[in-house]
Structures are given as C-alpha cells and as structure tokens.
C-alpha cells in the first residue's frame, strides 16, 4: 500500500514536471538570435538527391577532364582507378560477387550527391576551392568515365538531376536484428 502511495506521488510529481516544462517551452528561453537569409544561404551547401539546391552554372566533360588531372588524379588515379583516394570508376556487375568494387558508377545511388560531396570536401588539400562550373565539369567527367555520360555532355542542375544511377534501386532498409544466437549454455 505504501508502495502504491509512493508510486502515485511519483506519478503526480511527473505530471507537475511535464506541466512546468511545457509552460517553459512555450515561453522559450530567449537564447540565440534569428539567422538571416543571407547567413543561411552562405552556409547551406546541402543538395538533395533530387538535385534540390544545385546552383546555376554548368560544366562540360571536356573541361572536367582538365580539372580532374589537375585536382583529383594525384589521389584517385588518372583514370579514376584509385590510389590514396577511393576508386571512382568501374566495378559494374561486381556487387553480388565475392569481390565487390564499390565506385561512383557501380554503387552510388544519386548523381547530385557527387556535386554535394566534391563541393564540400574535395580536393582534400583545398576543399571549397573549385568553382561551381568546375564541380559540374569534374562530376560530369567522373560520370563519363563510368559510361553514364557521353564525352560531349555538359552538366547543369537539370541534366544532373535527370541522371539515373544504375544502382539506385539496390538499397534496402535496416532489417536488423538479422541473426538469432540461441544462447546455448551447456554442451553447445
């Protein structure tokens, strides 16, 4: 009985707490200031898988070949075959084999992710140093090396979002827990 009373008391206290917290949340703490649209525009570099957020401008596969040789080849190999940096090219048809090769062409599900990643993180020694035109161009060249764009192609927001990456439909949700250990204890 005493325990029940205690439990009720705790429950009541919890209700009070919730009420107080709720009231506080409504009034807010008044901490921080409003971010201006210009500040957000300067920092928001996220690009959606559908190409949302891709900037104006364009770049050709031809120009991308030059950018790649100057900025990328030292780590990724002159044909994107990999080195200190990831392999970017090939691997098509290997994912279900015993030696899968995961590259932009064989594995990446969305082309706009290339723009997002190159712009935010590459080249490794000077991220953010490429112009949007260079990023479009070098993205186009990597897609061309993977047979996903013709050599005379020019990439922009619209054409990049329209590319169907071959592995797009091969991603599934998390089905774990996926194994069940019977937890045997004796004479296992």
């Amino acid at each position: 009985m005493l325990q029940m009373i205690k439990a009720h008391a705790i429950a009541l206290a919890a209700v009070c707490l919730v009420t107080v917290t709720g009231a506080t949340a409504q009034t807010g703490y008044g901490i921080g200031r409003t971010a201006t649209p210009a500040e957000i525009a300067g920092w928001n570099i996220d690009i959606g898988r559908d190409g949302h957020g891709l900037p104006a401008g364009s770049g050709s596969v031809n120009h991308g070949r030059e950018v790649f040789q100057n900025q990328c080849a030292a780590c990724h190999g002159d044909k994107g075959q990999g080195g200190i940096g990831d392999r970017l090219v090939g691997g098509k048809g290997t994912l279900a084999s015993s030696k899968p090769v995961k590259t932009v062409g064989s594995y990446w599900p969305y082309a706009p992710t290339l723009f997002d990643y190159i712009r935010r993180a590459m080249p490794q020694d000077a991220p953010g140093s490429l112009s949007n035109e260079d990023v479009y161009a070098v993205s186009g060249y990597i897609l061309n090396l993977n047979g996903l764009l013709p050599p005379d192609a020019v990439l922009d927001a619209r054409t990049m979002a329209a590319i169907k990456m071959p592995n797009r439909k091969m991603f599934v949700g998390d089905t774990r827990p996926d194994v069940e250990n019977p937890a045997c204890e004796r004479d296992c």
Partner: protein
C-alpha cells in the same frame, strides 16, 4: 604481474629530458636496458628490506605539470595508430582497451576518426546554425549553448566498422574493437534546442554538418533528435578535445560513431534525408545478393574479453580474473556469459555497477587456469533479449563484404605457454 605484455618496454623512445628528470627513479635499470615494470635486478635496491630511492629525495614540486599527464611508467599506454595507413588526414586511431579499467575512457585515449584532419576552432568564432523546417531559423554562440539547461550522461561511442568481417582479424583487443570508447558527456538536449526554434510538423530529418574540412554531413531521423540526442561541449568534465569535436558535437546514444557529428556547425531540419556521400557510398551495408542496407544506425549488443586478451601472456597458472566490457546501442546490458572451453559451456559473469543504457558495462569472472590450452570468449545479452551472435552466424546472413556493424563474439586462444592470440585467425 599475471598478464605481462609480450612486447618490451621501449625506453629508447623516451625523451632525453624526461630521462634526466627521472634518472634518480629509474636508476641503473635504464642503463642496463631492461624493463622496469618487472622486478629487475636494479630494482632490488628499492625493494624490502631496502628503503626505495623515491623516499630519500623530494619529488617534483607543485606546478611541475599544470595539466597532469600519466606516469612515465605508463608511457606505452597510448592510442593504437597503425604505422602503414594510406593517409593520415582521413584516418582512425584506436583506444588501447586492454590497458584500461572501469567503463570511462580517459580523454587522451578516446578513439579518433576524422575525414579531413582535426580543425583548430576558436570557440569565440564558432556558431551553430539551425534552419529549414522550423518557425525561427537561429544562430547560437558557444555562450548561448552553455546558457541552456545542461545534462550529463555516460554513453559509449563506436565506429560502425569495428572490425570488418574478413581475415586477418586484429591481434589485440584494440586492433579488433578499439574504435570504441565511453565518456560522460555534458551539453544540452537536442530536443530542447529544436523546440526553442519551433519544429514544423513536416520535419522528419535533421541534417547535421561539421565545421571540419570535410564538412561531414549525416541525416538523423527526427525521432532520435527528440529522444536522447545531445549537443555536447564537455567530455569527462572538461571541454571536448579537438579530436572529439571541440567546441561542439552531437552525441546520438547507441548510433554509429560517424553520425555523431563533430565540430557541429549546422542543423538543417528537413522532410527528407540528405543521402549524403557518408550515408550512401559509405556507411551502407552490402549484402551477398548485391543489395545494400541504408540508414543502419544502431550499434547492436557486443562484448569482448580484455584480460586476458590477444598480445598478453599468462605467466602463472592458478587464479586469474577474466574481465571485459559489454555494451548495446539498444539500452542496458542484461547479462554477459563467458566460456573458457571453446564455447561448449557458458557461465554468467558478474556485471559491475553502474549498468547504464548505451554505455560500456564492465564484467568479471573468477577463473583458475590449469596451464592447459584454452579458448575464452564472452557473449552479451541486452535488455531487449538480443544475444550477441557468432561471426559465423553474422557471415551466414551478411557475407564477408558487409564491412559495417560486425558485433561478433571474439574468442581468444590461450596456449600452454600462456600466450594469448586471436582464435578467429586460426
């Protein structure tokens, strides 16, 4: 010393100044080139019935170390960083788990993984921006963040590739699962900050971004953000170390390390995940049929015996305490079973208090080693009833190329001479 390391202490690497400063203590042991951790010949001068040298002269005065460091004699307990990595800007360094006690990782030994080096961020010039599907886009200074009501909680952090599925497996416990650490984190509830900005109903994900040269970004489901996610500025009582995201990082208890964005600068509230490079081309789990699991966040229940473990040696038969750590991204560890006969029979180990959700839990089992070869291993069960699987069970479902989320049982082989090695490599 029951579990002597097989490697020799290397005093040749000690700085000359440190050597001179400690010459009185180390004495002729250094000159003779022998390890001082054992009962070396020179040490006899400091053993009964003699009075040890360090009682005959005063020690270092107050202020010799404004920020304390471990004893010179613990010089070999450092991060485990491979000497032949392809590069060191995007790289990882491991916690020497087998050399630590309890459940808290010292800040200097906390594992590291960064993708473009460690930035040196002036906290006065650091800002957290919050924008997207919220009523009021916000900017916070570090002082602002610290004004919010604070919370402190103990949680583990583990890299999702810890280790892979393919041989050869690591020699030591650190080689195997050293991308794992545990700390008391202090900061503000992420839910509180999001509520301050006013979440819109269509908000389903939050894209978090770091202020490092990789601008690393990951998408976090809103349910996690409104559950136990934290925006933290302190770790084990002091400000975050630069390697851990100074001045601000995310802690998503139980979720894979990569999502716990360091150097946090931006939270973009969104209806969709970003499908960033880190959550598509990396941190997705390839299966044998060529499909790949995406958004595999939770680190499942796992445990490992740390003493005795690979690279150590039992120098005496008789009593030994088997001890290790267990953890689960789904909550508390309910029990740990230990086998000392190659997995034929299991007995329940004692769990050391405190047993906290999504934190390391220390276990122990008294054991008498009869000097015969033995295989020892541990198996964790968490509060959901999930049981840590064997490597064979995992590979049967995921194949050997899944790379991430390997939470297998790891068996250690103890040879007749006491040497401990990784039995999974046999």
């Amino acid at each position: 010393m029951p579990y002597a390391k097989s490697g020799k202490n290397n005093f040749s690497q000690m700085s000359r100044r440190a050597l001179l400063r400690n010459a009185a203590v180390i004495g002729s042991a250094t000159l003779a080139g022998s390890a001082v951790t054992g009962a070396s010949a020179s040490g006899a001068n400091n053993l009964p019935p003699n009075v040890p040298q360090w009682m005959k002269v005063p020690g270092d005065p107050m202020g010799s170390q404004p920020y304390g460091t471990p004893s010179l004699f613990e010089k070999n307990v450092v991060k485990n960083i491979s000497k032949n990595l392809p590069q060191y800007l995007s790289a990882s360094g491991r916690t020497p788990l087998q050399d630590l006690d309890g459940i808290i990782t010292p800040n200097g030994l906390f594992y590291e993984r960064h993708h473009a080096g460690v930035p040196a961020i002036d906290p006065a010039q650091h800002r957290l921006m919050l924008h997207g599907l919220i009523e009021r886009p916000m900017i916070f200074t570090m002082e602002d963040i610290r004004r919010f009501p604070s919370i402190s909680r103990i949680h583990f952090l583990e890299c999702s590739a810890n280790p892979g599925y393919k041989k050869p497996y690591g020699r030591t416990a650190s080689d195997l699962v050293g991308l794992l650490s545990c700390a008391e984190w202090t900061g503000v509830s992420m839910k509180l900050v999001l509520q301050e900005a006013g979440l819109r109903p269509e908000a389903k994900w939050v894209i978090a971004e770091g202020a490092d040269a990789a601008a690393l970004s990951r998408s976090i489901p809103i349910e996690k953000c409104l559950d136990d996610a934290m925006i933290v500025y302190s770790q084990n009582g002091e400000r975050l170390r630069p390697q851990q995201g100074y001045p601000l990082r995310l802690i998503l208890p139980g979720f894979e390390g990569n999502m716990n964005i360091k150097w946090l600068r931006r939270l973009h509230v969104s209806a969709q995940p970003a499908y960033s490079r880190e959550e598509t081309s990396k941190y997705t789990d390839l299966l044998p049929d060529g499909t790949a699991r995406e958004f595999t966040f939770v680190m499942e229940a796992k445990s490992i015996v740390l003493r005795p473990s690979g690279g150590q040696r039992l120098t005496e038969t008789g009593y030994h305490e088997i001890t290790g750590i267990a953890w689960s991204g789904r909550g508390t560890v309910r029990r740990v079973d230990v086998s000392v006969d190659g997995g034929w029979n299991w007995q329940e180990a004692e769990l050391q208090e405190p047993i906290l959700p999504k934190a390391l839990t220390r276990f122990r089992l008294p054991w008498h080693w009869d000097g015969q070869p033995a295989i020892i291993q541990s198996r964790a069960t968490d509060e959901t009833g999930y049981v840590q699987p064997t490597l064979a069970e995992l590979i049967a479902v995921r194949g050997e190329n899944s790379f991430y989320h390997n939470n297998a049982i790891w068996p250690w082989r103890i040879a007749a001479d006491g040497e401990v090695s990784n039995a999974a490599n046999d």
